[in-house]
């Protein structure tokens, strides 16, 4: 997927994470987390794997984590990437189908 605009998903509430995706060259990832020492590597792995599944090659990705589970991190990365790649809710409701079980899994 091609990131063509800046988009964000998620919140700064406990158990959530806020992911911002912007156009960039290569993958430029930064992570800020209250549990960076224990889970920093795991968070990075989940984010990179999710970007890989979505076939995102070029993007600046900023993650602010508040103790999110893996499933939440995936959901927020997907949310930001799809929003930044032309999948607005209006487009989705107009029939642009999301790949549940495919790139989203």
């Amino acid at each position: 997927m091609e990131v063509t605009s800046t988009a964000m998903a998620g919140t700064l509430e406990s158990s959530d994470c806020q992911v911002t995706v912007e156009p960039g060259t290569g993958i430029d990832l930064s992570i800020d987390s209250s549990v960076i020492n224990q889970f920093g590597k795991a968070i990075k792995k989940t984010v990179l794997e999710t970007l890989d599944r979505l076939d995102v090659k070029d993007a600046k990705v900023t993650v602010v984590d508040k103790g999110a589970l893996d499933c939440t991190i995936k959901a927020r990365v997907e949310g930001a990437v799809f929003r930044a790649s032309g999948y607005s809710e209006d487009e989705i409701c107009s029939g642009k189908k999301l790949p549940w079980g495919g790139a989203i899994r």
Partner: protein
Amino acid sequence: MNPNLTRLRRTMMFLNAQKPSLIKDPYIYKPDSIMLDLEDAVAENQKDAARYSLYHALKEIDYHGVERVVRINGLETAHWKEDIRVCVAGRCDSIRISKCESAADVHAVETEMEKAEEEFGVEKGSILIMAALESTKGIMHTYEICTASPLLFGVALSGGDYTKDLQTKITGTGVELAGARQQMIIAARAAGKQCFDTVFTNLDDMEGFRKECEMIKAMGFDGKSIVNPRQIAITHEVFTPTQKEIDFAEKVVKEVDEKKAQGIGVFTVNGKMIDIAFYPGAKRTIEMAKAAGVYEGDL
């Protein structure tokens, strides 16, 4: 027949599907069902984000046997078809139709579910349906809604929207909901379906909540929609047979079986006159006790 059609549903707890803190571990409170909400709890500009969150929750969180119902957006919105795709792809247990007003609404949802089942290779009929009745028209059409699909397991009252349509408000006395509750339970039972009451939102009035639970139990309802884990224990207590009721039901079932073999139609149990008409109710009490995990007998 899908065994979940008649499963125990004393409590159905609303949770915003977009809030990770709510959906990560609600099973610890042991509700019978959770209702992951894509509708009113989710802001209009977060509908897409809620679906990603829902999908991964359904696929990756072990809810320990708690039923996972998803409330989709109303059929008058643009969101509901993609809501159904994510529900089916994520293999939720049941889909709750918002603002259901007719059999046609149920059929429309069924049609989209079938398309999604085909698309995602999900067994047909494995995901059930329930309908939320939120308008006077919906209440008037309860029976046609209940009989619209073999996949529909029950109907639930949504008191807030219903009272707006009725041009009144929730008073706390229940008078404004009396007609709807009565109409719903009669129609649901006539159709052989379950029936669930609306939420009670005043969390400072637990005594009022208990009284409402006792009233709807007496009316015949199967359970209640709830908004807070604090409401679970009270609801389960009200909707679970007491040991005294179980003991009596057990005696009735055993005595009816025994006396029937002896050709006796009427007899007494604990001083009460009993005949075959008591049998279905007693059997139901035993089944309810079994489902609630409190039956230790041998029936």
